[in-house]
């Protein structure tokens, strides 16, 4: 064995937080406030803040800080706290492995480092689905990029990536980039969405598309990509209810750039190594109300757990996780969660997926399709334990409500359903 490798010291720490974005920063600050000071945040990029560094638009913080901030300002509030409290963090460090025994190895500027933690917090966020993930046929020219990549080019690297633009997918970042590109002089021809309803928030349709006369076509998909070197255009078709292109509806759009805003996937490669079990619906970890995964002592929150639409709820979720992690570190274990949360066909997913029944918790969920005037009902053994009335419920909007443990009993699962 290489002599240098042998010399790697295993450093002891109470908590390692993987990812210094909004979830990791909020968790770190809250842990510190709860008395856990021997912790470390590991960030892959050169600066803390995660995706917020490139989200320069405003509207962040309305729930958390009762004021509208840009992404960088929102992140800075947490970074300032980290600096004030002297919470240890390292940047430019990529975690290579997390083991089931909570050993974390990273490449850092000082070389390889390994930590043995009592608890590991996963806050790696999510990544974008790409062209490969949705299988658009056609040629392979340059000029096809995801919305987040376009956002990084423009807002971080001062590079304008497009002139004539078509956007596929009505995710929030796609719409925000439609506006951003327009402000910088590009011409955004249209946004096409394969679903019969928008996947982003209504306010973004209004302020990012309608304000700039950018049309949104629902039930439309891209069926061909043209261009040898640079993209020259795309073929768009209407789709039927099974998302199959309808012959005869093809239309050509000339453009030099196709921006994809077709969904986000929690970034869980590290989690799988550690023995974390993922939920097929969220593509994030299965967790209990303490945000503990199937691997004991390993916790997850934020976009790595389930994709959020608002950063405010990422912070709030991570703070709630930190309260549980502090308790875990101090007491050595948490109450087992034996009650499963099951859903009907109208609910996309819930987080958590199981609970102990001995602690109040926030249930986060998404509906599968838009619904009006409905009730979201939580039952145990046929008895209603919580109800939330909704004037409208849309897949784009995460629904959250607090469920008191006082009505819960042990030995029976919870059922969540939508009644219209």
């Amino acid at each position: 064995m290489n002599a240098q490798l042998k010399e790697i010291q295993v450093e002891q720490v109470d908590v390692v937080i993987i990812g210094g974005g909004p979830a990791g920063l909020a968790a770190a600050a809250e842990l510190y406030r709860r008395g856990i000071h021997n912790l470390l945040v590991i960030e892959r990029e050169k600066q803390l803040g995660g995706i917020l560094r490139q989200c320069i638009h405003d509207g962040f913080g309305l729930t958390r800080f009762q004021t509208a901030l840009s992404g960088p300002e929102y992140a800075q509030r947490f970074i300032d706290t980290i600096e004030e409290l002297n919470i240890p963090y390292i940047t430019d460090a990529t975690v290579l492995e997390v083991t089931h025994e909570r050993q974390v190895t990273a490449v850092t500027r000082e070389g390889m480092r390994t930590w043995q933690a009592k608890a590991v917090i996963l806050t790696m966020g999510c990544r974008e689905r790409t062209r490969g993930a949705i299988g658009i046929p056609g040629e392979r020219p340059t000029g096809v990029l995801t919305a987040g990549v376009a956002q990084a080019y423009m807002n971080l690297f001062n590079t304008m990536p497009a002139k004539e633009v078509v956007i596929l997918g009505s995710g929030d970042i796609g719409m925000i980039m439609a506006r951003r590109l327009t402000l910088e002089g590009a011409h955004v021809k249209a946004v096409f969405e394969i679903q019969p309803y928008p996947s982003g928030l209504p306010r973004n349709i209004e302020q990012c598309l309608n304000d700039y006369d950018i049309p949104l076509y629902l039930s439309h998909g891209i069926t061909a990509i043209h261009g040898n070197t640079r993209l020259t255009g795309v073929t768009v078709s209407k789709v039927d209810e099974n998302f199959k292109p309808i012959p005869g509806t093809e239309k050509e759009y000339k453009c030099d750039t196709l921006i994809l805003s077709v969904g986000l996937i929690p970034e869980n490669e590290l989690s799988l190594d550690a023995g974390v079990i993922l939920d097929e619906r969220t593509r994030g970890a299965l967790v209990d109300e303490n945000f503990q995964t199937a691997a004991e002592g390993i916790f997850a929150a934020g976009n790595v757990l389930h994709v959020h639409d608002l950063v405010d709820f990422v912070s709030i979720e991570a703070e709630s996780l930190a309260d549980s992690v502090a308790k875990y570190v101090i007491e050595g274990s948490l109450k087992p969660a034996a009650i499963s949360i099951n859903t009907d066909c109208n609910i996309g997913y819930t987080v958590p997926q199981r609970v102990s029944g001995e602690k109040e918790f926030t249930l986060s969920l998404r509906v599968k399709r838009p619904m009006k005037d409905c009730r979201i009902v939580v039952r145990q053994a046929g008895k209603e334990v919580a109800v939330k009335k909704m004037k409208k419920a849309i897949p784009a909007e995460m629904i959250r409500f607090v469920i008191s443990h006082e009505k819960l009993v042990s030995g029976s699962d919870l059922e969540v359903c939508v009644e219209c």
Binding site: I56, P72, R203, D211, L310
Partner: protein, 129 residues
Amino acid sequence: MLKEFTCIICPNGCGISADIEIKEGGDSLIRSIEGALCPRGEIYVKQELIDPRRNIATSVLVKGGILPLASVRLTKPIPKDRIFDAMEEIKKCCLKAPVTAGTVLVENILGYDADVIVTKSVPAGKLLK
């Protein structure tokens, strides 16, 4: 006349229906309004009818900083039809590192009582690669 609005004030994005009477001289009166989860909805609709306003965010060049750009935003929304004029004004600006978030870059832009403020601090130093 029944008109539909999507409130943009918060992420709820309330769908608001308002019965509006257009009076002689162009003034409008809201006869009834429904769909807003909070009072800000009605204030938004009133503003949309007389003078729709929006905030914008963009970036300005930074010389000598660890990042090439500092993001900026307006402290208050300005009339929607002046957004591109505001972009032109902001484009003329260039900052020298170090740049501190909160710094006022342009005061009272286009005379609308809104300032352009920096939203990202950029320390001086070699560009991060």
